[in-house]
């Protein structure tokens, strides 16, 4: 317990932790500011008046055309229509109707773009995104907590104090998970608070009923669980490579290049449902609860493959557990030189 607590304190006192915390805070504030300025509950009176003027002008164009038999002859902008064979059989009224909207169809709202943020419809996905980004930071922090210990030589020092390596690894992993969980939950709560405030003032909160809470909490819980898994993965890779950069390199390499290569290979090899080889597919299935993949057979029939959150959870869990077991074995057996 002492070791676990000191590991938490060690991580808290690191400069990287402070930098990541500031980044996360600034990111949440920036998100709020963007939402705040993009969203509005409706147009102002002046905006409405301006838009109505445009609508009236548009609607008036038909009337002007219909009332003036020489509209096309007299208008340099429209005289070309009389020479176009396509409109040869059109009556004057029909031509007016062809080019201008009839019957005062334009309304003011057609000329006003207003985005209204609806917390009940969009909030959970924005919170999920924020938690995922902070999860990535937490993964790097966990990897760094292990990697920096190796590169600074502090690991040998620590093992001289605590020879039980499994206990040391458990304490470090436990501390990383605790800090990750706290960060992700805090992010979700703060993001919800800021979005609620934004929706209350500049948008619509909507109906946050029991069903909404149940669905939202399920999605956010799965996102937090993914963040915890990412943290374990980062720490395990750093433990295997004994360096933060190795963990970061492997993760970034896979996310950017590896997944692309897998997709190319799956297409080249004509594998059924090639998207199932992409990690992103499984992550999406896990987060959203379900993912449907489609493909067309040679006979022109559509086939569907469904990946449930359980399928995705098992696969992602096995990958993470595999790396964690490998890291545990390596740490227990390796010489610390």
């Amino acid at each position: 317990m002492n070791l676990y607590q000191s590991e938490i304190h060690r991580t808290r006192r690191r400069v990287l932790t402070l930098i990541f915390a500031i980044m996360a805070g600034v990111g949440l504030l920036a998100l709020t500011v963007i939402m705040w300025f993009n969203s509005s509950t409706g147009p102002t009176e002046a905006q409405l008046a301006d838009a109505q003027e445009i609508a009236d002008e548009m609607n008036g164009e038909y009337e002007e055309c219909a009332s003036d038999e020489n509209f096309f002859e007299d208008s340099p902008d429209w005289s070309w229509a009389l020479e176009d064979e396509y409109y040869e059989d059109y009556s004057h009224e029909e031509m007016c109707a062809e080019f201008f909207t009839t019957g005062s169809e334009w309304v003011a709202e057609d000329f006003i773009y207003t985005y209204t943020f609806h917390l009940d419809r969009e909030g959970v996905y924005i919170i999920m995104g924020a938690v995922l980004v902070v999860g990535l930071l937490a993964m790097l922090l966990s990897a760094s907590a292990i990697g920096a210990e190796w590169t600074s030589g502090g690991m040998a020092n620590l093992l001289v104090w605590h020879p039980n390596r499994l206990r040391v690894w458990g304490a470090k992993l436990g501390a990383a998970l605790t800090i990750t969980a706290a960060s992700l939950v805090a992010t979700a709560i703060v993001a919800f608070g800021l979005l609620y405030l934004t929706a209350s003032v500049r948008g619509e909160v909507g109906n946050l009923n029991a069903v909404w809470w149940e669905d939202s909490l399920e999605i956010i819980s799965r996102t937090v669980a993914l963040g915890l898994g990412m943290s374990v993965l980062g720490a395990s890779l750093a433990m295997l490579g004994r360096h933060t950069a190795i963990a970061g390199g492997i993760i970034a390499g896979y996310l950017i290049i590896g997944d692309l290569l897998v997709r190319f290979a799956s297409i080249a090899l004509r594998i059924e449902f090639p998207e199932r080889l992409s990690l992103y597919t499984w992550v999406e299935a896990w987060l959203l609860g379900r993912k449907e993949l489609f493909q067309w057979t040679a006979a022109g029939r559509e086939e569907t493959m469904v990946i449930t959150s359980t399928d995705a959870g098992i696969l992602i869990g096995l990958v993470i557990a595999g790396f964690a077991v490998l890291a545990t074995w390596a740490f227990a057996k390796r010489d610390v030189t």
Partner: protein, 351 residues
């Protein structure tokens, strides 16, 4: 009282795919008695650090047995580690933390009071630098911090690998005083691996000399020096022309005596005592003008025992003994002896 550290037949071979296996320890034995400052001496690559790493569970041994406070290491190490403070090889710390924070975190991890950090910083003379980040510390300051972290637990056994590295003369003096105080006043058993022979001679009560992963000799420092100093006597004459005659007289008088004539003196070894030379020469009508008994220091004993002493006409690499032979008087202990001048080396390492 049983030894604090008992190591017997310790073996370790480092294997890497692209390299030849390197046998770092070849049946090493080590015993350290309680309440002493014990020196652990050996040339570079002789296995000192490997031994300490194995003892502290940082690396696995291929064979042999180790005990600390009578408990098997590394299996029972977690049960005795609270009584052991150690620094292995160069001190390494997270450079962005201050010295105080580093020690406080270690203290916390072992359930010690955080105030211990300030106490040990005071002990090693780092109190004024406690809040500085370690990246701003000199090597000597890091060395002191390493010793401070080893002292945090108020250990009964203190293991320090090259503690004087990077310290200035005042720092070395302070460290020596501290370690001797710990051993002789506080009853702490101190094991110091070092290549600073004069330091070991001044600091240690007993020592073990290792070479090529094996123990060469161990015992009290004074006994080891005395046991290998022999009776080396320098004899001078008022008239250098008498050197040849005196050499003949001494050689004929006693079979075991070996005499080497140098330009202005004779070097005599194996003489029963100094007075025997005076009497033997006087009986032959030769009177000496100077007779000096030369005592070996630890350095010459170390170089002789580890076979790393420079040889005439040869450049000997440190840690590369020329040749070894069994000294019948040393109860089977391997004593390196000098190879003949110009002898070829099979490994080519002594050219």
């Amino acid at each position: 009282m049983p030894p604090v550290i008992e190591i017997s037949g310790l073996r370790k071979t480092y294997r890497k795919r692209s390299r030849k296996p390197h046998q770092a320890l070849d049946g090493l034995d080590l015993e350290v008695a309680a309440g002493q400052v014990h020196g652990f001496l050996g040339p570079n690559g002789s296995g000192k650090t490997t031994t300490l790493r194995a003892l502290l569970g940082l690396i696995s041994a291929d064979g042999g047995s180790m005990k600390i406070f009578g408990e098997e290491a590394p299996a029972r190490l977690p049960h005795v580690i609270s009584r052991v403070g150690a620094v292995v090889e160069s001190p390494q710390f997270f450079k962005h933390f201050s010295g105080r924070l580093t020690l406080q975190l270690l203290a916390e991890s072992a359930g010690l009071a955080k105030t211990r950090a300030d106490e040990v910083l005071e002990q090693v003379g780092l109190r004024d630098q406690a809040n500085r980040k370690i990246k701003g510390y000199s090597l000597g300051m890091r060395q002191r911090l390493a010793v401070a972290q080893a002292l945090l637990k108020q250990p009964e056994l203190l293991i320090l690998d090259e503690p004087a590295n990077g310290l200035d003369p005042a720092g070395i003096h302070h460290m020596r005083a501290l370690l001797q105080w710990l051993a002789h006043e506080q009853g702490v058993t101190v094991v110091v691996s070092s290549h600073l022979l004069s330091e070991v001679q001044q600091l240690c009560d007993s020592m073990t000399i290792v070479s090529n992963g094996r123990r060469i000799v161990d015992g009290a420092v004074d006994d080891i020096i005395a046991g290998h100093s022999g009776s080396l006597l320098s004899v001078k004459f008022a008239d250098p022309a008498q050197l040849t005659e005196a050499k003949d007289v001494l050689t004929k008088a006693e079979e075991q005596v070996s005499v080497t004539a140098e330009p202005n003196r004779l070097v005599v070894t194996g003489a029963p005592e100094a007075a025997w030379i005076t009497k033997t020469l006087a009986d032959s009508g030769i009177y000496l003008s100077e007779l000096i008994t030369e005592t070996k220091n630890l350095e010459s004993v170390f170089l002789e025992l580890t076979g790393t002493a420079p040889q005439n006409g040869q450049a000997v690499q440190v840690g590369q003994p020329i040749q070894t032979a069994t000294d019948p008087d040393a109860a089977g202990i391997q004593i390196p002896v000098a190879a003949p001048v110009g002898a070829d080396s099979a490994e080519g390492g002594q050219q």
